[in-house]
Symmetry: C2
Subunit: 242 residues, 2 copies
């Protein structure tokens, strides 16, 4: 039987999604919980390989089990075997063809920025402190320029697993509640570090520290124009659509 | 010179506000940071003695320093000497008569409840997981019944420091955003554990597990009618008015 689960996790104490030997990763924790239920190793496929320290509220994974599980019973059994910073929100049986990664159509990421002189310590695990004033119209304008189909080489690292750096971003929008800014990026797929590098680029352009427009920065394909990337703790994989 | 500071802290790693020898407390951390600036011990008065694990976004403290500090410079110097889970939002010189505790007129507390079958791990440090369905009208109605001047003996513990358990609650209201419920209590002062015990009472009444109305429960003055109190991690001291 093929199963799909939706998962949330606080990524602070994990080296990201993907298994790396015995290092703490989300994939390892879920594999271990499933192995207890199955009595044998289980291969788990995740929709997105979130990096070290990145959080999720709507990560999706799929795997096969020999037993016929009711969704609620499987969710309960998994949550009983997982640490409290990883929670299964839902579990269901799906068609044999379903694959969390290859069947995914769109993903939504949220990046949180705390934009005030002094950081709010209650948000320190989940938002990046950025003390400089931002121009809201420019943020919207530059974010819109990221939308569409582009070669995003400027915003990623060399990665032997991808043949092309062309991706499509369908939506960018942002919300503000007091000093907390939430930036949303939705697209068919993202390159490694792409969201966090786009966030840094948006902030640097906003402060006038890159003497280019966003379309010029995209076309440049020069990663060295952007210094570093925004910290992992501000990023959350919010949803995967199929 | 007399100073007033407004402070935020993540209470997870502290045994509350009040100094207890060398145990980690907020008061100790601030006293130590101030002693570095003053070159001598400094007595710090807090508006509210938050309990172990309770958070703050608007705690207020006052103290005297011999030096004439600019507010922004004092804030910066303190934040440079405090751990990152305690932040000074503002600092200012005030009249000599000002005392963070005795001058306080009203305090506002927020209690966060995550009301869904499965806990959101990104809220686990700052909200209490309560899985049972709640009746919103009854929550509003019972919370309103707490407002006014009452003897709140039902909702506290024996405490030799207080002469009377009569207190005045001026406002109760609550907000909901998806599964997160935020309960707000504003009053001239609160007894030890009062907010967390009122929260448990509201939830137990809501589920029909206490066969009384809220006014009857208040009048009973029987602490044993309410089992325990809501966990500290859901509680935040939001603001102190002067």
């Amino acid at each position: 039987m093929n199963y799909k689960i939706t998962i949330a996790y606080d990524g602070t104490n994990y080296r990201g999604w993907q298994m790396q030997g015995e290092h703490p990763t989300i994939q390892l924790a879920i594999s271990q919980a499933l192995a207890k239920l199955e009595g044998a190793p289980v291969t788990v496929h995740g929709a997105g390989r979130t990096d070290s320290g990145v959080h999720a509220e709507g990560q999706v994974a799929s795997f096969h089990l020999s037993k016929d599980w009711d969704g609620k019973a499987l969710r309960k059994a998994l949550n009983g075997n997982l640490p409290s910073d990883i929670r299964v929100y839902s579990a269901e049986q799906v068609d044999d063809e379903f694959h969390a990664r290859f069947s995914a159509k769109r993903k939504t990421y949220r990046y949180q920025i705390y934009n005030a002189e002094v950081m709010n310590p209650l948000l320190a695990r989940y938002a990046w402190h950025f003390a400089y004033a931002l121009n809201p119209e420019k943020l919207t304008h530059d974010g819109q320029a990221l939308c569409g189909t582009h070669d995003f080489t400027t915003f990623t690292v060399a990665d032997c697993e991808t043949n092309t750096n062309v991706r499509t971003i369908t939506d960018f929008f942002w919300k503000q509640s007091n000093s907390l800014l939430q930036l949303y990026f939705r697209g068919e797929g993202f390159l490694r570090y792409q969201v966090r590098t786009m966030v840094i680029a948006l902030l640097e352009l906003n402060r006038g520290r890159i003497a280019m427009t966003m379309p010029e920065l995209i076309r440049s394909q020069k990663r060295e124009l952007i210094r570093g990337s925004a910290p992992a703790k501000g990023l959350t994989l919010l949803a995967v659509e199929y």
